[in-house]
């Protein structure tokens, strides 16, 4: 690897362990330029380019293949599944029990090809990224260490807090969110593939941040995103609400380290804490807005219920919780045969292990039970369907 430190001045010495802990109290970390910035090929807009042309081109082709799989191939699989079910005397449009659907479609060749290519493409993508970051361990680790203690945003790390349920390799990501030192790097570039190449500039997260509602009194002084992963929404929230104190928490310490490094590199004073969404350690009545993006379907049922309690505790009266996810419990419809196979693939083989538990939670009911005034609007969907207000 050559020309690693080509954009900024290289300072001697790696940051020590103590430098990784920046507390909320006191003056916080100094605002400074990163000293070991790894940026071999510059950046396009907000995105630091992948470090080699080959890796970048490989990534874009895998993204194109993924678009094909999610589009044409998935449509063909759905059609094939319908024909298979009809041949077996079953109605493909009607809800089916999961076990019956899996049994009926287990030998459908196009469903199998679709499922195989979807999973294995993802594994190829993860392998490529892991090879790059771990193959150049010292450079990337030095960059992250040097960034730990510089601002404008703060970083707080709390080793040893991770419960077992958070340690799965969700999406088959190597090491998951907690077990790989470069989980944030790998997640950021890997999910660019998930978003079909439409989020290189954080467009999706900017769009989500724009939809987050504000409390009825209009006061927004503090915002928290729980399950912030590599920090894209947290940063977007800070950019939408520049006068507010904005925090992101995640159980993956490598995720928040990367989030902090990237936010600071973008010059955005967002703050990150390594913490569990159901136990954030923030004071009572602290936040005006609490939000999350695709968090709950990766959390156990018990975890989600605990998050509702934590949200009730840390929001100030009149504050709101705005969860965004694929489906809330309002959408607990019994799926057709192919839909059941897709969910099973996601849960069992894409290792989103808590999907079914998530689907079992009746969000409006449980949030109401936790003390919120819940407003559910129209048909449930990804956003805009559910806002929970803490009673004023």
């Amino acid at each position: 690897m050559s020309n690693h430190f080509n954009r900024r001045t290289v300072m001697g010495g790696a940051a020590g362990l103590a430098s990784a802990i920046a507390t909320m109290s006191g003056s916080g970390p100094a605002t400074a330029k990163l000293t070991k910035d790894v940026q071999q090929r510059g950046q396009v807009g907000r995105l630091e380019r992948l470090p080699t042309l080959d890796l970048e081109a490989n990534d874009e082709m895998l993204t194109s293949i993924r678009i094909f799989i999610n589009g044409e191939l998935s449509q063909a699989a759905a059609k094939s599944a319908a024909m298979t079910l009809k041949a077996k005397g079953l109605d493909p449009s009607k809800p089916m029990a999961r076990e019956a659907a899996l049994e009926a479609l287990k030998d459908d060749p196009i469903v199998a090809v679709r499922n195989h290519s979807w999973q294995h493409l993802q594994m190829l993508m993860w392998d490529n990224l892991k090879r790059e970051f771990h193959g150049n361990y010292d450079a990337y680790m030095s960059e992250m260490e040097a960034a730990d203690n510089v601002g404008p945003g703060k970083l707080e790390l709390n080793p040893g807090i991770e419960p077992e349920y958070t340690k799965h390799e969700i999406h088959m990501q190597p090491g998951g969110y907690t077990g790989d030192a470069f989980a944030g790097h790998i997640y950021h570039y890997g999910t660019n593939n998930f978003y079909n190449g439409n989020n290189y500039q954080d467009e999706r997260h900017a769009g989500l941040a724009a939809r987050v509602p504000v409390p009825n009194d209009g006061k927004v002084r503090r915002i928290l995103e729980i399950g912030c992963s590599c920090g894209q929404l947290t940063v977007a929230l800070k950019q939408r609400f520049p006068d507010a104190e904005v925090w992101g928490v995640d159980i993956g310490a490598p995720m928040v380290r990367y989030a902090h490094m990237r936010a600071n590199d973008l010059g955005v004073a967002a703050n990150f804490r390594h913490a569990l969404a159901e136990d954030t350690k923030f004071p009572d009545n602290h936040f005006d807005i609490l939000t999350s993006n695709i968090l709950h379907h990766e959390v156990t049922r018990a975890g989600t219920l605990a998050i509702f309690k934590e949200a009730q505790r840390i929001l100030r009266p009149g504050g709101l919780y705005y969860p965004m996810d694929f489906y809330t419990a309002e959408r607990q419809i019994m799926k057709n045969g192919y839909g059941q196979v897709r969910d099973w693939m996601t849960s069992r083989w894409n290792h989103e292990r808590w999907l079914y538990e998530y689907q079992s939670v009746d969000f409006p009911k449980e949030m109401t039970a936790a003390g919120f005034d819940v407003i559910a609007k129209g048909m449930p969907g990804y956003v805009d369907n559910l806002v929970a207000y803490k009673k004023a």
Binding site: A14, L17, A20, L53, D54, A57, N58, E60, M61, L62, S64, I65, P109, A112, V113, N115, H116, S117, Q119, H120, L121, M123, L124, Y137, M141, E145, L157, P159, G160, E162, E164, K167, H168, E169, M172, G175, G176, T178, G179, D180, A181, A183, A253, P254, R257, H274, W349, H351
Partner: protein
């Protein structure tokens, strides 16, 4: 507890490994492997093609246009060399097609041989 690599603090934990590697979607793990290789090969082909596109763009700025590339007539020596290279490539890629099928099934008949 957070793990370290050498003297460096990684802030990582142990993790629960995905078991996707043990699964066959297509009824035979070797067919799965071939399918995966085809996906990987597609990415490799584009990787090379994109590099060529970059080279073409850079060359164009130096006066070597794409039209010049299209119109280029190889020398007889180049033609002969490239033909040999193509034959090697064809043999490597498609040589398996000419393989005579054996009646010997490695999984079910091995005890008889």
């Amino acid at each position: 507890m957070a793990e370290t690599k050498g003297k460096r603090q990684e802030y990582t934990t142990d993790f629960i490994k995905a078991d996707i590697g043990n699964v066959s979607f297509l009824g035979n793990v070797h067919i799965d492997n071939i399918m995966t290789a085809l996906i990987a090969m597609g990415a490799e082909i584009w990787t090379d093609r994109r590099r060529i596109r970059v080279l073409e763009s850079l060359l164009e700025k130096k006066g070597v246009t794409r039209d010049m590339v299209e119109q280029y007539v190889p020398t007889a020596e180049e033609e002969a060399t490239w033909k040999k290279e193509r034959e090697v490539l064809v043999d490597r890629m498609y040589g398996q097609f000419a393989r005579q099928g054996s009646e010997f099934n490695i999984s079910s008949d091995w005890k008889n041989k």
